[in-house]
């Protein structure tokens, strides 16, 4: 029988652990061959993701070549401390992801779940930091009231102009750093700076989208782990989610210096 449901046979004989009874798909000779093939297939998929971001990197490189002054100005508007914090968050999450794979391989399920949760939390933290401390201030000029850099803009802070139940404080003349035609920041020195912001937003937004996809994959793994689908003899799903998450980290490893550190 070769329908969608027939490759994964679970024996529901009274509370058996699914991973122990995992049967590989019928067209493979053994489970180890299937695992090898799944890994190769996923590496090919990761290759496509790398090439997808390659377009963004190419646009970055070409426009940096054409508008070096705009790039200098644009990257100086980015705070390396938030970028650095995000880098550390992602590296830690990469570690916990690899650690959770180790835990599943050695049958330590509680530890595995804990590490997966930390990874998920780090992912959420990444997106939250990006949105709160980077996107929202730059786009609109509204700083989070607990933002440390708000202190440097105290003079330009417009008293009383707050948003979102007083959680965000408006700072005059900071916002408007938007891509392309939407650019409204009044103090831009180089006329090509909107291009910088286009590349910045498209690169980091695409990356954030992949972070969210990665988190969905990890959440799925977490739930299935809880139901006992993965264990020392079968953990392909965890491995796959791990590879995707590491790719997300890998892309950020390149995005961070390009956007924040190269001036």
């Amino acid at each position: 029988m070769s329908t969608v449901n027939s490759t994964h046979e679970h024996q529901s004989s009274g509370g058996g652990v699914p991973y122990k009874k995992y049967k590989h798909a019928h067209h493979w000779r053994s489970q180890s061959e299937e695992f090898d093939a799944v890994k190769l297939g996923f590496w090919l998929f990761l290759a496509t993701e790398v090439l997808l971001f390659g377009g963004i990197f190419c646009a970055y490189a070409i426009f940096r070549m054409m508008h070096p002054e705009a790039w200098k100005e644009g990257s100086s508007a980015l705070d390396w401390r938030w970028g650095g914090l995000n880098t550390v968050v992602l590296l830690l999450s990469s570690y916990t992801m690899a650690a959770s794979i180790f835990a599943v391989q050695t049958g330590q399920f509680a530890r595995a779940k804990r590490n997966l949760l930390i990874t998920l939390f780090c992912g959420c933290l990444f997106v939250a930091i990006k949105m709160t401390f980077e996107y929202i201030p730059k786009w609109s000029g509204f700083f989070f009231i607990l933002d440390p850099s708000l202190a440097t803009y105290k003079a330009a802070a417009v008293e009383g102009k707050t948003a979102f139940m007083g959680l965000f404080q408006y700072v005059e003349g900071y916002g408007g750093k938007r891509p392309g035609e939407l650019f409204t920041h009044p103090f831009a020195k180089d006329p090509n700076v909107p291009m910088w912001w286009s590349v910045y937003y498209s690169g980091t937004a695409l990356h954030a989208l992949h972070v969210i996809i990665g988190m969905i994959l990890i959440a799925r793994v977490y739930i299935k782990l809880g139901k006992g689908h993965y264990g020392p003899t079968y953990y392909s799903g965890v491995e796959i989610a791990g590879l995707y998450w590491h790719l997300v980290d890998l892309i950020w490893i390149f995005l961070f210096p390009l956007l924040y550190l190269i001036h």
Binding site: S2, T3, V4, S6, T7, A25, H26, H27, W28, R29, E33, D36, A37, V38, L40, G41, L44, F45, A47, T48, E49, V50, L51, L52, F53, G54, G55, I56, C58, A59, I62, F63, M66, H67, A70, P179, G180, E181, L182, P191, N192, P194, M195, S198, V199, Y201, S202, L206
Partner: protein, 592 residues
């Protein structure tokens, strides 16, 4: 004595063996609805291949009708006579009863028709044509596997293709696109017309289908070959499909990001391709052609694989230079990534143009290796002049012309005159249609008995082939002359001097239509009332001929063991053939 061991090997079955004989994969289920559900949820590569085949052939006809509309419009140039526009045939088709006072509406219709013809043909027909239909069907069979590496992913690929095509059809019905299938900026990013975003999204989705199919095939070839089949025991169709799959995986994501950026440009005006905001429209062209050049090799490589196999079988001769052809497939795949700038000579700087021009000449070399090897294979072969073989010969003739006419386009000095003329149009139709479609027809006829268990009418096939050949040459050879004389492409009208050639070309296109209609009739007749096909009508030696016609659900009753090469005609009796009908002593004429 068969040399492929399909008998049960002494007691060792493993956990998966001993399936015995099931019914053929085409057997219907208990009720009509159950059969529909079976096909809708199947992970069987054969059923998925057949579904792709029908979709591709259907869309080929749709895009072909659009092409006929283009040719009809070009029967007469557009002129103003007494304040009224004459010569816009499409206008009277789309706005019946209206009087045209300006050429704009008619030109818009023309632009949309040729754009849709191109977009449907490129993204929905030719790219998936051979890999997703014949490739899906025969790749596992040829390597002795039960299915592709990831059958569920294969089904997902199919549904992504369906969704992408529906997006494309939605774009068409909502007004269509005028930009040409290449969606060049700034026309595609700045103007407020049509459904560019929808169409671009359709292409984006179809790209995913292509990527997943390619991914599947690469892993299948690496991991699922039968015991005894090393890399150099694989049929050349598998080599070609493997090289194609590599290109699909590496090149398609770049069109993904390109189309994504184009959508962002249209919707949010981020300015990456807009010079007024600091961007560069030529950057779009670089992004676009980095994919679109390798994709033309995705289109032709599987066709070349078909030709290698069909030619060897139908001339009952060992393929000349197996390793050369195998490596040339990989070579073409590799060099294809280095030459995209030759679509942009008129928009690039001189240094880059020179580099790309030189590299483009390089890609002709592995291609020529293949053509010479094929011709050498034919020499002193026992040629069976049936429809597949006829299409192979047609391919050799038409593809050679197409390939050779690529050289004036690769040479910068001549390209300056020929760029964006009908010479380019003729060139790519010769390679894409004279190449890929003819190879598809050859493969379809060659493997039709295996896929559907029925023979097609040979006389009908030959008539269709000859009509297609004549019609094709009348249509497109004249376009070379149009091009060298300066007729630009994508123009709805032209100087009066070009009218004769255009009319000849249009007549040819209708002969083409007739040829394909003959084929359609032959295929439908075959499915309904064709003779039952034997398991190995042509005497092929590759593993797909071991399976039943049509194959059973799991392809083979037991995992085959490979003991002979795929083209050892002089030393192997074909599977299912009686050795009395194939005396090997006579086959020793071409020893080497």
């Amino acid at each position: 004595m068969t040399t492929v061991d399909t008998s049960k090997s002494g007691g060792a079955h493993g956990g998966h063996g001993g399936h015995g004989h099931h019914g053929s994969y085409l057997e219907p289920r208990s009720s009509f609805l159950a059969t529909i559900w079976d096909w809708a949820t199947t992970v069987d590569h054969k059923k998925i291949g057949v579904m792709y085949l029908f979709a591709v052939l259907f869309l080929f006809f749709v895009a072909g009708v659009l092409a006929l509309m283009v040719r009809t419009e070009l029967l007469t140039p557009v002129r103003f006579v007494d304040g009224k526009v004459v010569g816009q045939e499409l206008f009277s088709l789309f706005y019946p009863g209206e009087e045209a006072t300006s050429v704009n509406k008619g030109n818009t219709v023309y632009n949309r028709i040729f754009t849709l013809h191109g977009a449907i043909m490129v993204f929905m027909v030719i790219v998936p044509s051979i890999p997703s239909s014949l490739g899906n069907f025969f790749l596992p069979l040829m390597i002795g596997a039960k299915d592709v590496a990831f059958p569920k992913l294969n089904l997902l690929s199919w549904y992504i293709y369906v969704i992408g095509s529906l997006f494309g059809i939605a774009a068409i019905t909502q007004g269509g696109v005028e930009t040409g299938w290449t969606f060049y900026t700034p026309y595609s990013s700045n103007t407020d017309f049509g459904q560019v975003t929808l169409m671009v999204l359709a292409a984006f989705i179809l790209g995913f289908s292509s990527i997943l199919t390619g991914l599947n095939f690469v892993v299948t070839v690496h991991k699922l070959r039968a015991p005894g089949m090393g890399w150099f025991d694989m049929p050349l169709f598998v080599w070609a499909t493997y090289a194609t799959a590599i290109i699909q995986v590496l090149a398609t994501p770049v069109i993904g990001i390109t189309l994504l950026l184009l959508c962002l440009e249209r919707v949010f005006k981020i300015g990456i391709f807009d010079p007024a905001l600091g961007g560069d429209p030529v950057l779009y062209q670089h992004f676009f052609w980095f994919y679109s050049h390798p994709v033309v090799y995705v289109m032709i490589l599987p066709g070349m694989g078909i030709i290698s196999d069909v030619l060897a079988v139908q001339s009952r001769k060992h393929i000349f230079g197996y390793k050369a052809i195998a490596f040339s497939s990989l070579g073409i795949a590799a060099v294809s990534f280095l030459v995209w700038g030759h679509h942009m000579f008129t928009s690039m700087g001189e240094i880059a143009s020179v580099v790309f021009s030189g590299l483009t000449f390089l890609v002709a070399i592995p291609t020529a290796v293949k053509v010479f090897n094929w011709i050498s294979t034919l020499y002193k072969g026992t040629i069976a002049l049936n429809t597949p073989m006829l299409y192979v010969l047609i391919f050799l003739f038409l593809f050679s012309i197409g390939g050779l006419t690529g050289l004036p386009l690769a040479t910068m000095s001549t390209d300056m005159h020929l760029h964006d003329t009908y010479f380019v149009v003729a060139h790519f139709h010769y390679v894409m249609m004279g190449g890929t479609i003819m190879a598809l027809m050859a493969g379809l006829h060659h493997w039709w008995p295996k896929m559907f268990g029925r023979m097609y009418n040979e006389f009908g096939g030959m008539v269709g082939a000859i009509l297609v050949f004549v019609g094709f040459n009348v249509t497109f050879f004249t376009q070379f002359f149009l091009g060298t004389q300066g007729m630009p492409r994508r123009y709805a009208s032209y100087v009066t001097e070009f009218q004769t050639l255009h009319q000849i070309s249009t007549v040819g296109s209708f002969i083409l239509l007739l040829g394909f209609l003959v084929h359609l009739f032959v295929f439908i007749h075959s499915l309904m009332a064709g003779a039952k096909a034997p398991k190995n009508p042509w005497g092929g030696l590759t593993l797909e001929w071991v399976a039943d016609s049509p194959p059973e659900t799991h392809n083979f009753p037991h995992e085959p063991l490979v003991k002979n090469g795929p083209y050892d005609f002089e030393s192997t009796v074909p599977p299912h053939w009686d050795p009395k009908d194939y005396p090997l002593e006579n086959a020793g004429a071409h020893k080497h």
